[in-house]
Symmetry: C2
Subunit: 450 residues, 2 copies
């Protein structure tokens, strides 16, 4: 059986929901369907979830709520009518949306309950439509599906025992329609995952029922080998491993929610990213192991906004505990670091600039200077990371040579290179101003030949 | 003024001491001479210091001592006679060597006092010879030179205040002859630096008198760009910076005692490595700053006996403090690490195998496994580090490309690359079996053209 998840744009209108129906009914193994809230119909549209946030803010400020409620209800109504459904199907949805305003504003789960209404009502609507079209299906609330989560509002984590409960879904006769994005706490409160968390719901259910596949339907033909904003018509990737996906996601590829990969990965369920608007396209398969076919680089990602803390001290290498002391200083200030390449007497700590305020930077330099007495200590800003990703990379000494040469012939300076620390990637750190040109140079080097 | 230090092979025989005399008297700015104990005259010879160790061991075991004493005294006598000196100059040396046997075996400085006798008697002999040849010179004991050290037998450190005292040597009229290798504690006990520590004495005195130069005379024409055991007739380096020297020394270049670089470096005194047997050769200058002249690589070093601890955990990157925990685990077991390249969810810790017994390895894996629950955790053995060194490297993206290509065309796999973490080096980690071939490939790439 397969678990299928549809994103907001796949459910934004009657036309899109028709496509979803066709996709689900085209394959009898698609047994569990995870539904997002209606997304944007066109670029300037408002997502239902954003409308719910506005509604909640008005509610909290004891503002007028009618317009907010009406806009949201109308959104569902227009979909239902365009699908040819009876207007009465909207009544329970309207009731549910209005009832949110009677929740206790002081309850820390009220915000999550507002937001979850987007997915929840959509799942109900979709289930009714599918049933009307003759599909043997049933809406199930996450509480009944077994998605029991920690009591961390807007940042829920699945409780481990939940998988035991979720398993039963595999034995149900009907197709199951489950709203994504939220679970319930042990006390029964609605609690959402972080934003975009419908991907997580799908991944959890796929892991829980040990699905043969987790299909994640979105509005692109899978994952591109490089960012289409920089590379014109980049190749789309047929298959990549979870490790490759993780490296690409880290450095700029944001097709999938990061945490969403974990349950499917750990349960060894292959994940396929497909396009609701082009379901015949095979999309991109994400698997735990793949056969590499000689092409060492599957994708190139880049990401800016990095800083480098440089520390040099003569004979640093002989001081036991030096590295640990530096990392403790960072931890004491709550600063996360990304990488820590070391020379003999030098050490660079790569930090995302967003974690490094002017104040923190000052404290960090002061603490390190006083505790370690380095010969040199400074922070460099405005760095980008370029990441070449591929499982076959470790065996190819030539990859580094080709990539470095591609940068060299374009006159691009490399601040740092790290290869081999990860088995599936090669990382260049360079000046932000060179990022796009570097991406193009490397893409041309590795993809021109395909 | 210059501080000049002569190694054991430069003082092993009368002929060698003649050369030293000629070198010292050829340049009137050579005002402070640091003297080692007589070294080997030919490959199978015994160094006086090693004879003193044997003497000490016999003394400690209450064994017969005559033969030991005689061998050492004879060593000095034969030098003195060959220099045409009167045999009576040996009397105080013989007395001193024999008197060692009446020291308190339980005194923790007795071993150091035995060893220091090698340098001390040689300095006295050299001073007498120089004087006889008409040089205005004077022997000065380290205690009188101001070399006051911490009370750490065989591992002395200079006490900071010593520099204040040492300064006065600059104002003396005569050429000063000082035995290397040892100082005295505040309580007046003889205490040596670590083995080979005459280099340290020279460096300390050069820093203390703010010498214009510290000349370190040995038996090679300076520092080679690569190991002559692997590369036939490698180029010798004219000039390199302390940072470059340090990187080369770390990874296999052992011309100079590591710690010996620090005092001269901190005092900004240039160091020259020269050949007693070929004093007209300019040797290798080690300076704090040098003009780079377009050649990005000044030297290539390599070193084997490394292991890599690999840790992978999905979403490791999101766990604050992960890196610090790994380093703490190492520190708790007293394991020093050399490098710590990181991927997104991966981390490699490079450790010298000599610091990693089977037992420690087991404990380390157990501790990490229990505290971090990684997805993958293993140790790889038999790795070598190849280090390309050069101040100009940071500006040359092409260096990495050329080096990696040179390895690729020879079919050599690279396990890891780290560039830019140190500003003056590019590091490759690869299989030990490929080390020599890799060194040759890279040397040919960068030096063939010269």
């Amino acid at each position: 059986m397969k678990v299928v998840k549809f994103g907001g744009s796949s459910l934004a209108s009657a036309g899109q929901i028709e496509k979803v129906f066709n996709i689900v009914s085209a394959d009898s193994t698609r047994k569990i369907v995870v539904v997002s809230a209606p997304g944007k119909r066109e670029a300037k549209d408002t997502k239902v979830t954003d409308a719910l946030i506005a509604y909640y803010n008005a509610f909290k400020q004891q503002d007028v709520l009618d317009a907010h409620q009406e806009w949201i209800i109308e959104r569902y109504r227009s979909i239902a009518l365009a699908l040819g459904m009876d207007e009465t199907v909207i009544d329970p949805i309207a009731e549910n949306i209005k009832a949110l305003a009677s929740l206790d504003v002081k309850n820390k789960f009220t915000y999550d309950t507002f937001l979850a209404a987007g997915e929840n009502n959509n799942a109900k609507l979709v289930a009714q439509y599918f049933k009307a079209k003759g599909l043997n299906c049933r809406y199930i609330h996450p509480a009944d599906a077994g998605i029991i989560v920690s009591a961390q509002p807007s940042n829920a984590r699945l409780l481990k025992d939940s998988y035991k409960k979720i398993k039963y879904l595999a034995d149900l006769e009907e197709i199951i329609i489950v709203p994504g994005f939220f679970g319930v706490t042990e006390a029964g409160e609605v609690c959402t995952f972080s934003r975009g968390g419908s991907d997580i719901t799908g991944s959890i259910l796929a892991a829980g029922v040990k699905a043969e596949m987790y299909e994640n339907f979105t509005d692109v033909d899978g994952i591109f080998a490089a960012h289409p904003g920089v590379i014109k018509n980049p190749h789309s990737i047929k298959e990549l491993t979870y490790r490759e996906m993780r490296e690409l996601a880290y450095s700029g590829f944001s097709v999938l929610h990061d945490e969403a990969l974990v349950p499917a990965y750990r349960a060894n369920v292959p994940l396929v990213i497909k396009n609701t608007n082009n379901p015949d396209h095979p999309g991109t398969r994400i698997v735990t192991k793949r056969e590499t076919k000689g092409a060492p680089v599957v994708g190139i990602a880049s990401s800016n906004g990095f800083a480098s803390l440089f520390i040099n001290k003569y004979l640093m290498n002989k001081e036991v505990g030096f590295g640990r002391k530096v990392l403790s200083a960072l931890e004491n200030l709550g600063i996360r670091f990304e990488h820590m390449p070391t020379g003999i007497d030098d050490m660079s700590i790569i930090i995302r600039e967003k974690y490094l305020s002017k104040q923190l930077e000052k404290s960090l330099l002061k603490n390190l200077s006083e505790s370690l007495h380095p010969d040199e200590l400074y922070i460099e800003h405005g760095l980008s990371i370029i990441m070449l990703v591929g499982e076959d990379m470790k065996e190819h000494a030539g990859v580094t040579a080709r990539a470095a040469r591609a940068l060299a012939v374009h006159g691009i300076s490399i601040s740092m290179i790290s290869q081999g620390s990860s088995e599936v990637s090669l990382m260049f750190i360079l000046d932000e101003k060179d990022e796009k040109q570097a991406l193009r140079a490397i893409y041309d080097e590795f993809y021109f030949e395909i």
